[in-house]
Amino acid sequence: MLRALKLMVTGRVADERSVNLQRQGRIGFYVQMDGQEAAQVGCGLALEPEDWVVPAYRELGVALARGVPLQTLFDQFYANSNDENKGRQMPTHYGYRAYRYVTASSPVGTQIIHAVGLGMAARYKGEKSVTVPFFGDGATSSSDFHAGLNFAGVYNAPVVFFCQNNGWAISLPREKQTRSKTLAGKAEAYGIRGVQVDGNDFAAVYRVVQEARERAVSGEGPTLVEALTYRMGSHSTSDDPTRYRSTAEVASWKQKDPIERLARDLIARGWITEDQFEALQEAARAEVQAAIQTAEQTPPTSPDTLFTDVFKSNPSYVEEQRAELSELVREGVVKP
């Protein structure tokens, strides 16, 4: 529980700092999880190292729960030469094979069906693991949600579909995304189990995911988990939520802040003190600050990486382009 609180706080601080870095032009476009910490950390901690995570772009809490170091993440935000994803994508679109955390893309929903294939592959190879795709309420309208849940049902795939219903898909409220009563209820259309859970209640999320995981691993089939939560911040640093939602709504969810809630609970139970909670926040700030500093001091991505990883090895004409670009850079015609 304490570990959970620490991760949630670290995530919150990392998010806040990153949004500021974006405003200052020090990093690019950023997507924060603000408000969804309990759902993400709750789910992330309920998984085992052998499980696979197939995230969207908002899953900082999951990455932290999987053990991805802060430094690794900030290196990605800065797209510097230590970024394991080689500066190929905007901040928050990362992945780390070592953590069985698949590199995210921006297109909404595509990862849901990947998770089914991954889960089936792991089962085929005799692994006792689950695969967990993360996605939002908006993604339930996507084609790959439909295919993903349908295939999982047909093949009884060891997958836990984790939907964070944060109330909004950019400016579209959940009620206008689909007329179904709940999102969890959509599971029935695929003959699989659906569960709705309070996504701001860390312990509840943890329990629900753990149970779903056990069922999946033991062959009892996939589950669709709908975690009810709220995106307290903007959709991304490009978004202005005051155009489409009321401050009253935001304020009411502020009351249900998952971090406050868990902290209050732990303090009430006497597991930590108010001071320790303060210290924990302070420590997170220091840790984040250090990661930022290191990331900023790391050299940028090398120009030559433009041409690696298109294929395992490039066709000759792509190598010619690489040579051409080297020349252009050398002669100062183009500047990185």
Binding site: M90, P303, L306
Partner: protein, 326 residues
């Protein structure tokens, strides 16, 4: 006339079309209350209401498929895809349905949908907010493909797409210059016909063919080489389908040299068709190999987008070399 930006011109065009014809309806993600993530539809929801400015669920095949249905009835739907990078879930609806409806029905069911989408790089959008894949649509018979590069063209081509064309139109908006391309835009019902390229600047030494955000970029390059004594003619295609190859050929027959500039990847990109058509029809006029300056054959990068995209200097160098090659 006042100075407006390209995105404002689109907004004016949409408003104008909706005022003129009640059959014009819009649909897309976040286009209603929010006014579109780039504000193309700003104010229209308030002005025309939710029956005509339709916020949709997150489903591009749904958006285009619904628009097709409305077009089959006889309305004039204008769909927005939030970024061109997200158009592919609708690809089947576009290439198998919209592009082929008139043909397969023997003309009984024309499919007049306009699909607007911002495209191109230069905004630090990385792999999924920067793509230029116009060749996918230009190579599909039955689709018209439009790419404006100025506010006036944006409005004029959009109104032609909505009012005069009766076929599916892929309307690609160079988002990099949404706010930097400014200019005077005629009030009211301003239309620019499809299939008429614009000679941006005349010249006699080399022909530069481009479109979209690469037009202002190429113009800078053309101006730069002018100082070196090279007089390039710059052509903005405006529509890839129908292609005004006559204007291109006329120019190449005059200059004997051609440079093609686009930001999409080079291999099998639209520049290949331009190069092919020029060499096939003006071979005996060519004094030097045609040069394609394009994005490299890699996915669109993030940190290194400035290397990937044709820069003014890279274009200038290409023009200069082609103009002086012997």
């Amino acid at each position: 006339m006042t100075q407006v930006t390209l995105i404002q011109a689109i907004n004016q065009g949409l408003r104008q079309a909706m005022k003129t014809d009640p059959d014009v309806v819009l649909m897309g993600e976040d286009i209603g209350v929010n006014g579109g993530v780039f504000r193309a539809t700003d104010g229209l929801y308030k002005e025309f209401g939710e029956a005509r400015v339709i916020d949709t669920p997150l489903s591009e095949n749904g958006i285009v498929g619904m628009a097709i249905g409305m077009a089959l009835y006889g309305l004039k739907p204008v769909a927005e895809i939030q970024f061109m990078d997200f158009i592919y879930p609708a690809f089947d609806q576009i290439v198998n349905e919209a592009a082929k409806f008139r043909y397969r029905s023997g003309g009984q069911f024309p499919c007049h949908v306009v699909i607007r989408t911002p495209f191109g790089g230069g905004i630090r959008g990385g792999l999924y907010h920067s793509q230029s894949t116009e060749q996918l649509f230009a190579s599909t018979p039955g689709l018209k493909v439009v790419i404006p590069s100025t506010p006036a063209d944006a409005k004029g081509l959009l109104l032609t797409a909505i009012h005069d064309e009766e076929d599916p139109v892929i309307f690609l908006e160079p988002k990099r210059i949404y706010r930097t391309a400014t200019g005077e835009v005629p009030e009211g019902d301003h239309r620019i016909p499809f299939g008429k390229a614009r000679v941006v600047k005349e010249g006699s030494d080399v022909t530069v063919v481009s479109y979209g955000a690469m037009v202002p970029q190429s113009l800078q390059a053309v101006n730069a080489v002018e100082k070196m004594g090279v007089h390039a003619e710059l052509i903005d295609l405006r529509t890839l389908v129908p292609l005004d190859y006559e204007t291109v050929l006329r120019s190449v027959e005059k200059t004997g040299r051609a440079v093609i500039v686009h930001e999409a990847s080079k291999f099998a990109g639209f520049g290949a068709e331009l190069s092919a058509i020029i060499s096939e029809r003006a071979l005996y006029h060519l004094k030097a190999p045609i040069l394609r300056i394009a994005g490299y054959d890699t996915p669109f990068p993030y940190a290194l987008e400035n290397l990937y995209l044709p820069s003014v200097d890279r274009i200038a160098r290409g023009i200069e070399r082609t103009a002086t090659a012997t």
